[in-house]
Amino acid sequence: MLLYTLQRLLQSVAVLFAVSIAVFLAVYSVGNPVDLLINPEATQAERAAMIAKMGLDRPVWAQYLTFLGNALQGDMGVSFVHGIPALELIFSRMPATFELVVLALLLASAIGIPIGLWVGLRDGSRGARMVMTSSILGYSIPSFWKGMVLILIFAVWLNWLPASGRGDTVSLLGVPFSFLTLDGLSHLAMPVINLAIPNLALMIRLTAAGASEAVHQDYVLFARAKGVRSKRIIRRHILRNILIPIITVLGVEFGALIAFSTITETVFAWPGMGKLLITSIYQLDRPVVVAYVMLITFIFVVVNLLVDFAYAALDPRVKLVENM
């Protein structure tokens, strides 16, 4: 276990290292780093001072070491547009994105797992097939267009829900959240539904596949033979066993949804870190883009690590030690 933990941690560090090199090379090899990293509106004197300060006249490997050293200390440069440290800027937008992602995941699993169970236990029936086909539709609809159709229906035609923004927020432990106010909830509804639909389809398919396979397992037959009531079999035997892959996928999806929320946030003008990324790309605010990539890589590495450990903790059959 200890050996495996160390091995995984080393791997994670290696991934972060590789991404930092890739990002560094991308920023420094595509075009002149001076143009990319120094505010284009700087005067000639300011430019010269910045070049000297950032060491852009030094060899590439030396520059990389500086970049890495700064990044390790949490210094990713200062946003050209906002004039505050890039990382700080992203952290200020993070709660809005996390709120969206967590609610979308909760919604998707709360609806998706029961439907998936229902489909899996009635494998092959007309109703089950219909749900499965509509789930294909669920992940086929392009997210940005689906968001626009939601806006068209609920904001433009029916005028029930606001089309953009976060609404009133309440500060919880110093962090603003929307889900505690009625106005905030009305702003949350459409983005959360938009983000949740592909995930809902995924949850349905995953649960259905697991359940239809589990019904024919020996432990279910045995439980049935013992005379255990079917509700109890579903809850205690089937659901428990198929929850393991579901939790794994939920973990991975958490990271993926942070990335996908970029689209939803753009459509609904939701002030999260995804919208910040898109705006920064438009405004050529490179430090923010670089900081975003490094931060999201970090989140991904941590999530993957946690998922692996959770998987091992949940499933006694999984042995964490490789090569033994």
């Binding site: 991308a26 609809i141 626009m148 996908f260």
Partner: protein, 310 residues
């Protein structure tokens, strides 16, 4: 017995006489497909859509790139309205007075082309990498597969978005970005199915006949491992088209001069609040039909070829 049907001549190995298009695996696969009419139906539907998508610009009543063929006077006309010279705008017009139906037909072709070309490139690269990894094994395999894990560890939209943010927009750049995020899927599937094929008897037989590793892998193992790759490819075309549309919508995809369906939707976004819904609604419907039918075919193929459900 007919001479041509004789078992084999001494100087010619048997495996050469038997055409590769008639392996037992392939026959079993085609048989499975034939027994499922839904597969045939959805495949036909897909072929028709693709053909229509690629040819339809010839049927468009207006060239959306030709600035003289439309007039700003006709801008934001609702569906079914008529222009001054009597042309009917079945799906309305956009902010410049362009016929939406014509724009969709042209946009669909760009979306399809990007999807098909990038999928083909990713497939070639991925299949080669997967095969090389399976053949060579050892350190090279470990290294290649680590790279695959690394690429697949990140959501495609993010990698493509950041990549395009660095290199700028353009049809070729979008294709490059899609290939970069998709090749790894094929490499993973190709390697695992090549590894399981390699243990089978026909491979051993081919080796014993004295064929080199390269020939065995490319002429024997690869054709037999392609069914999984083909299922993946159908779904990947859909995801390539989605990815392209999304990137174009976000403003880092195809340039304004070559509007794909995603860009058309994006152009209509500004008019949505004023109620001119058709500018972005109908291109999205076209996109949805395209993606949904591809995913449906992929799903049916996967069920039909699933070894567990024969």
């Amino acid at each position: 017995m007919d001479a041509s049907n004789a078992p084999h001549r001494r100087d010619e190995p048997m495996a050469v006489r038997k055409p590769l298009t008639d392996t037992p695996q392939r026959r079993a696969m085609l048989g499975k497909l034939k027994r499922r009419p839904s597969v045939k139906k959805s495949l036909i539907a897909l072929l028709v859509i693709t053909l229509i998508g690629l040819c339809l610009p010839f049927f468009a009543q207006q060239d959306p790139y030709d600035l003289t063929s439309f007039s700003v006077m006709d801008n934001r006309m609702p569906p079914m309205s008529e222009s001054f010279d009597g042309m009917v705008f079945w799906l309305g017009t956009d902010g410049q007075g362009r016929d939406m139906l014509s724009a969709i037909l042209y946009g669909m072709r760009i979306s399809l082309l990007v999807g098909l070309v990038s999928t083909a490139l990713a497939l070639i690269i991925g299949v080669s990498v997967g095969l090389v990894a399976a053949v060579l094994g050892g350190r090279i395999e470990a290294l290649l597969m680590r790279l695959v894990d690394f690429v697949l560890g990140f959501p495609s939209i993010l990698v493509a978005l950041v990549l395009l943010a660095m290199i700028g927009r353009g049809v070729d750049k979008v294709i490059l970005a899609i290939v970069m995020v998709q090749w790894a899927n094929y490499a993973r599937i190709m390697r695992s199915s090549a590894l399981s094929e390699r243990r089978k008897e026909y491979v051993e037989a081919a080796h014993n006949l004295g064929f080199g590793t390269g020939r065995v892998m490319f002429r024997h193992v690869m054709p037999n491992s392609l069914s999984a790759v083909l299922v993946l490819a159908t779904v990947q075309i859909a995801s390539a088209i989605t990815l392209e549309a999304t990137l174009s919508f976000l403003g880092v995809g195809v340039p304004v001069t070559e509007p794909s369906l995603g860009l058309l939707v994006a152009n209509g976004f500004d008019y949505l609040m004023s109620g001119a819904y058709w500018i972005s609604f109908y291109p999205g419907i076209a996109l949805l039909i395209l993606i949904f039918s591809l995913n449906l075919v992929g799903d049916r193929l996967r069920t039909a070829l699933d070894p567990k459900r024969s």
